[in-house]
């Protein structure tokens, strides 16, 4: 019995992964054929991008501040508090800006995509859309994926900027260090691979957030309880996949640029 259960679970897992790849590849490739719903893309960009700016600004600013507080205390024991700016900028741009923004946007938007599409599934609105001759993946999923990819890219830049500002605020006003030195250290040691690494990640994270959110939403079964279940699964899987793919991208980038 236990073996049968494991066998069934393994098959279900393989089928789910296969469905996810088919679903997301179809959604991505829809951009190469007509119709493309530009108005939905703009609307989703507004909801995902503009709607998330506030939380991203605050999260980035406070994270930069925390990095400055923690790093200054450690660096002081080596007499190297002058490199606080470099430490904060590197951490935010290479890693934390993208990951934190991804996780914030995942909590906000993967959940809303899963619950919105899930509610549409259980109330037969998705079937109604299909019956009216409209492809729900093309209409609902494709604009969400491209909007999230584009917006997460810009949100990450905002987060990086606010993080460096947060670090500067702590360095100047709490640690009483020189602001010019902080910014020059932050800028001077930044190189192309650092920025590339920080800007490639949000493209991947944006795809994961939207495709996982929509995938779980579109497979919702079991009424309102099912909508709740889909929402939880979407947020959990999107968050875990962001951290996992961050590891893979970091390993790849470090091995390519040896930095």
């Amino acid at each position: 019995m236990a073996f049968e259960r494991i066998d069934r679970s393994a098959k279900e897992l393989v089928l789910t992964v296969q469905d996810y790849f088919l679903f997301s590849s179809r959604a991505v490739l829809n951009i190469f054929s007509r119709p493309f719903y530009w108005a939905d893309l703009i609307q989703q960009s507004d909801i995902i991008g503009v709607g998330s700016v506030t939380i991203v600004i605050f999260a980035g600013f406070f994270t930069g501040g925390v990095l400055a507080v923690q790093s200054a205390a450690t660096l002081a024991s080596f007499g190297a508090t002058a490199v606080t700016g470099r430490f904060v900028a590197m951490s935010m741009i290479r890693e934390l800006g993208a990951v934190l923004t991804g996780i914030m946007v995942s909590g906000r938007n993967a959940s809303s995509m899963a619950s919105e599409l899930g509610s549409m599934v259980v109330t037969e609105q998705i079937d109604a859309m299909r019956a009216l001759g409209v492809d729900p993946i093309r209409k609902l999923v494709t604009p969400r994926i491209y909007a999230t990819v584009a917006m997460l890219f810009f949100l990450t830049i905002v987060s990086d900027f606010c993080g460096i500002l947060g670090g500067a605020a702590v360095t100047v006003f709490m640690n009483n260090q020189n602001g010019t030195q902080y910014f020059s250290m932050a800028y001077e040691f930044l190189q192309f691979p650092d920025i590339l690494q920080g800007l490639v990640k949000p493209l991947l994270f944006g795809f994961l957030i939207a495709s996982i959110g929509c995938f779980y939403g579109m497979r919702t079964t079991g009424g309102t309880q099912g909508v709740g279940r889909s929402t939880i699964q979407a947020v959990v899987f999107a968050s875990v996949m962001i951290i996992f793919s961050d590891l893979l991208v970091s390993i790849t980038m470090v091995s390519i640029f040896n930095k």
Binding site: P35, T123, E124, G133
Partner: protein
Amino acid sequence: MNENPVSAVDSSTTDAESPVVEFRNVTISFDGPPVLRDINFSVGPRETRILLGPAGVGKSVLLKATNGLVRPDSGCISLFGEDIAIMKESGMFALRARTGMVFQEGALFDSLSVRDNVAYQLIQERIPDDEIDTRVKEALIFVGLEHTFSLFPGSLSGGMRRRVAIARALIHNPQLLLYDSPTGGLDPVTSTTIIELIVKQRDFYKTPSIMVTHRLQDAFTMVTHRYDSEKSAMVPLPQGETDPNTTFMMLNEGQMIFDGSIHELVTSDDPFVKEFLE
């Protein structure tokens, strides 16, 4: 909607006498025993088929299979002469756009106004706003809800939602109509209003249709009444007369146990049919 009563079946794409819908040996299952087994029936031009049966026997599944929302495990489903059982999903959208479907609970898009719900197909086709407004108003007048133009589905009653769903299904002049329990859960007065709309569509526009219901009174009303366009109301047919184009099917436990006219239905020897009618 076009106010000229013309046949809804486009003769350029479908032979005048060939069935609009045809099921041949269709079996459908979902992770278990078949929900529908070896189903055979057809819907001819101008024909209205009423699908009877208790709850949970696969009536809605059969209706969804008719326009490809559910795929069969085996058998052939022909819609407008094309086999949709083997057709790709991407090829289905154009065919589905030629059908109109009314869902059990209306399935209106709750984030859109009544105007945008009814005009959904027209908006996707980028028809000018002025023309959309005119056609939506005509469709809403047809279902008697012109005052709901700017309202949202959340502020409508259950009966009004079904009527808006009917307007949405009709606005594109469909060549086949599918009604999934359009009167389910409604009070008798509202149910009669909905049935009157369906009879009006049947007699005025001659659109072939399949109506799923478990309410016998609605089925019998449809077959014993006609729409009088002079009186703008549904009137009973003379005593003993029935609508020849309205026929019945009955499902039980996933199998088609009856397919025939009202007279054959009421005189059927099948014990389940008898029990259902009683």
